[in-house]
């Protein structure tokens, strides 16, 4: 990649000491292998502190990549992503080989940095197998680095891979509202899979994270009825509210009309007092 986003560089340098900055700048003058080595060696030269950046306030660290954010990263992770952007991206074969080598030899923190960098790397389709593989990973931090707060999956995942990512996130008990693009990529197949999951949990007498209903809502139909009626009659306010939101968003007239029996809830939705953001996050 020839253009390193200015905001990103500026933010990184604001976080570093003079010595750290000099080390980083020195690395960018080097050949492929030395740059790759610097990617590995970063913790030997940079502090392990965390960095905080509310990227919304200044239009994003990488304006051409919506959703890319570094808030709560370690300085090492940020610096590693930045170093990767300095790897010469032509010829393509060599670039792909270099990134693949880094993946093959990476330890956990390096993997996290590599997945975090995917939305910024050239030849984005080349990384698709790695990215979908990471979703199957048992490594919590690695899974998070691709699934949560990363714009890559929304941009490049097939529907099947996307749905797997969402289901795995739910299954791992992680917050789906941190999946970038979650509302834009709702789909019928995903809704069916989640409905099945909900029914299965109900049958086992177990709770489900209420947030996941938002992925079912627009596609809910008669098959969702029994679970919805259960919820509407729940003793828990949050469950009644979720059921109301589902009915309200459903495109199925029969489901939608269930709401008319609960005028208070309907009113608070219409007044904008109740929406998904008011519902508990997945723990």
């Amino acid at each position: 990649m020839t253009d390193i986003p200015t905001n990103l560089t500026q933010f990184l340098f604001e976080q570093t000491t003079k010595l750290e900055r000099e080390w980083l700048e020195e690395q960018t003058q080097k050949n492929d292998l030395d740059l790759m080595t610097a990617f590995v060696a970063t913790p030997r030269f940079l502090s392990k502190k965390m960095v905080f950046n509310d990227s919304k306030s200044n239009g994003g660290l990488v304006p051409e990549c919506n959703g890319f954010q570094v808030n709560g990263w370690s300085l090492v992770r940020l610096a590693r992503v930045w170093l990767l952007l300095h790897l010469p991206s032509v010829p393509k074969d060599q670039f792909v080989k270099n990134i693949e080598t880094l993946f093959d030899t990476a330890e956990l923190n390096e993997l996290v940095a590599l997945y975090s960098a995917l939305p910024l790397l050239p030849y984005p389709w080349e990384w698709l197998p790695r990215a979908t593989d990471a979703v199957r990973s048992n490594m919590g931090f690695v899974f998070d680095s691709i699934a949560l707060l990363n714009p890559y999956p929304e941009l490049y995942f097939s529907e099947l891979a996307w749905n797997q990512l969402v289901l795995k996130t739910i299954f791992n008990g992680k917050p789906i509202d941190l999946i970038y693009g979650i509302d834009r990529r709702k789909n019928k197949d995903l809704a069916i899979a989640i409905s099945d999951f909900i029914s299965e949990r109900f049958a086992a007498g177990r709770k489900i994270p209420l947030q996941i209903w938002r992925l079912v809502a627009p596609f809910s139909d008669e098959t969702t009825f029994p679970n919805l009626i259960n919820l509407l009659e729940s003793e828990l306010k949050a469950e009644r509210e979720v059921a109301a939101l589902v009915c309200f968003e459903s495109k199925n007239p029969n489901v939608h009309s269930l709401l008319s029996k609960y005028p208070d809830l309907e009113l608070s939705i219409k007044n904008g007092e109740l929406d998904w953001s008011k519902i508990e996050s997945i723990p």
Partner: protein, 342 residues
């Protein structure tokens, strides 16, 4: 190449199939359990052990005997690796799974990275390994380049030894030298003179597998002299006591080099007990079984003694990449004295 030895390719490196004639085994009534109290409260650091070929039983016994930290040098796993991927996976296991497994027994695990001398003789593969070696040398918890040096003392071994010395200099890492079994004296001298030729500071170089014949020269030239207490082939611990009595504790360290051969992961605590019994002062024992190894390898900047000097409880529920060392419902510390295996 004009080497003159009997079975150049059948001798694994930490294990000689032909015991030297001068060491005769005699029955002894000294039982380890009778002498463990001699080392009560001591802490040990084993700077050379190949845990990848050891079991969890070993880890449990080691922790119980006072071993708090270890270094696992990258080495030969007993048969040649056939492709670069095997090296990648092996190196990854040294900084990954094995380190995690060790932590589950309360033992801090470091490693040294290198292309071993035997496999240096496969030039095509060696070239590929050298390409990825820097990516491992700089990883966290890597405390040196090792174990490198000579096996058959071939030109290819020399080539990759030299290249790795340069890597060590560049990465500012100590070097751990494996000295050959055959023609040891010459191999040791050659290893040291090449290291000096490359401008390495001898205080950054640990020369391993010493014996009575090599120790003086190694110490005189300012290198660290490591001794491997390995049954039948390298050093016995009675001989070791004599060496310490003769040379004192400066720049001398002991290790087990325990691996897939008949070896003993408790070599250090056992030697410490023997030294105690023979009247060697505790501070001398501490230097050769703990402190010197730390001083030598801490030059890497990768050793923080608070990691193992403060009381540390392993987290039995911890996972590595989502995988635990415990299989279905196992408890981390079973009662070994019980007949029931639950």
């Amino acid at each position: 190449m004009c080497q003159n030895h009997k079975e150049p390719s059948t001798n694994p490196s930490h294990f000689e199939s032909t015991p030297s004639g001068d060491e005769i085994l005699t029955h002894r009534d000294l039982l380890w359990e009778d002498y463990q109290n001699l080392i009560q409260g001591m802490r040990f650091f084993d700077p050379h052990i190949h845990m990848v070929s050891r079991t969890t039983d070993d880890y449990q016994m080691m922790a119980k005997a006072g071993i708090v930290a270890i270094i696992e040098p990258a080495f030969w796993v007993g048969q040649p690796r056939t492709g670069l991927s095997s090296f990648k996976d092996y190196y990854s296991s040294l900084v990954g799974w094995e380190r995690f497994r060790s932590s589950q027994f309360g033992i801090k695990h470091y490693c040294t990275m290198g292309l071993n001398s035997r496999e240096a003789n496969n030039e095509r593969l060696a070239e590929e390994v050298m390409e990825i070696l820097p990516l491992f040398a700089y990883k966290e918890g890597v405390v040196g380049i090792g174990e490198i040096g000579f096996d058959d003392q071939t030109p290819l071994e020399e080539k990759y030894y030299r290249l790795q010395l340069e890597l060590a200099k560049k990465a500012k890492l100590p070097v751990q030298i494996h000295t050959p079994h055959r023609d040891k004296k010459r191999g040791t001298e050659r290893s040291m003179s090449i290291a000096l030729e490359h401008g390495l500071d001898p205080s950054w170089v640990v020369v391993d597998h010493n014996n009575e014949e090599t120790v003086k020269s190694v110490l005189d030239q300012g290198f660290w002299a490591a001794f491997t207490i390995y049954p039948f082939t390298k050093m016995g611990n009675e001989r070791m006591v004599t060496v310490v009595e003769k040379y004192g504790p400066e720049r001398i360290m002991i290790n087990s080099s325990a691996d897939w051969g008949i070896s003993d992961p408790l070599a250090i605590p056992k030697t410490a007990a023997l030294m105690k019994q023979r009247g060697i002062p505790v501070d001398v024992i501490r230097m050769v079984t703990y402190q010197n190894a730390i001083d030598a390898f801490a030059k890497s900047g990768q050793i923080d003694v608070t990691d193992f000097e403060t009381e540390f409880q392993p987290d039995p529920n911890a996972k590595f990449h989502g995988n635990s060392i415990l299989r279905g419902g196992q408890q981390p510390v079973p009662n070994k004295n019980s007949l029931f295996i639950q």
